[in-house]
Symmetry: C2
Subunit: 235 residues, 2 copies
């Protein structure tokens, strides 16, 4: 508990869930955490593993995904540094992860034993408010995406996914657009379709000058045109 690595404390301080935690608590959490590195394509945990740790992404990029019985991947969420994930076990002792967490680049995360964190929350109950905010936000996002999947056409969903990624992965809005490092396959997993269909729409949009594309790279040139597509106002 006397591990007060200032860098770790700094990472933890920027986790949204802990925005109003006392400095003392941040130190405590830092003391409980272990650094874990996972290389590109590797997993922090797999669907079905016992949820013994919760994680905070420190560097790199990762995704939370589920794999269906027939092997198809569904992408639930893209993770960026300072986001907490895999917190389920901190709430329900003995739970298993309902999804897997895969690194999209070489990444590092802080791992905290679920049981330790649960004890801390018991002693410091105000921490649970941050957790509950995280969860309600996540619930709302999932509900919204569920509605989209149930009611919108693929074209709209892909446009929306690009806009959402642009907003959260928060790349600089340089002149020339917002660049996103995702493949056709990634987009397909996020929107519940196939890479072929994604490729067709991206090609069409590129011809119209709304975006430019490269290998595992999409640059939004006219985001407002995508908004029109997402809202089905396209002619």
């Amino acid at each position: 508990m006397d591990n007060h690595d200032p860098e770790i404390v700094e990472i933890i301080r920027h986790v949204a869930v802990l925005h109003d935690a006392a400095d003392e608590d941040l130190q405590t959490i830092a003391g409980m955490s272990i650094r874990r590195a996972v290389e590109d394509g590797g997993y922090f945990f797999l669907q079905g593993d016992k949820a013994e740790y919760l994680y905070i992404l420190a560097s790199g990029r990762a995704k939370l995904c589920m794999i269906s019985a027939d092997g198809q991947q569904v992408n639930l969420r893209t993770l960026i540094p300072n986001q907490l994930f895999g917190a389920l076990g901190a709430i329900q002792p003995g739970a298993v992860y309902p999804a897997c967490a895969q690194a999209l680049q070489d990444s590092t995360a802080l791992a905290i034993a679920s049981a330790d964190f649960r004890n801390l929350v018991t002693k410091r109950p105000h921490l649970s408010f941050g957790l509950m905010e995280l969860m309600t936000g996540y619930i709302q996002e999932m509900q919204e995406r569920y509605r989209e999947l149930a009611t919108e056409r693929v074209e709209q969903r892909v446009a929306r996914a690009l806009l959402r990624l642009a907003a959260q992965s928060g790349q600089k809005i340089e002149r020339g657009g917002i660049t996103l490092p995702f493949s056709r396959q990634d987009l397909a997993e996020m929107t519940g379709t196939t890479l072929y269909t994604v490729s067709r729409y991206l090609s069409r949009w590129e011809k119209k000058g709304m975006i430019t594309t490269g290998r595992e790279l999409i640059t939004l040139i006219e985001p407002h045109a995508l908004v029109r597509v997402a809202d089905d106002l396209a002619k």
Copy 2:
């Protein structure tokens, strides 16, 4: 706070979220709650309303649903008595409901002011664990349904919806099957399809003897046959 209506306390005692709340807390909550009746088809709240109350269904049946821009309904969850819903505002002051809650029969619920409940949770922090369990359970269900919607065909999803409703609405498994009070339209909203498609599959299953149907009524005769369909093992 001295309203200790024993019937209300009894309802509150059976809310899963509060399973390990102290008797004293149950009494307090009972004292904060107001009974609200909503008739068939009416709303407890609408999507976008300020989330000033949370509810516990006392009698009847209701659904949580979202309405998309073009008017299509998406059914997120079917509510049965003793379930808590609309709790978002208890976590995030000033939030608006992301979905609406509509009665499917004449129903009553206990309404508790979000602010009052939030204060109570602050004073009695162990209550937050029940809330977090509720939320993690809900997140897992949403993730699972999202995966289904993204990867499975309509036939599988309808079969799964029937099995899920049978499991949770927990009708007695009498000889002769499990009877569910849902229309084709309800099923369609739950599975992200149209009433026509639902009707076609139900007809087909009825011809095979797997179910019987009536007006707003479906009886599962051979649930295991539906399991095979849901898992895509059907010939």
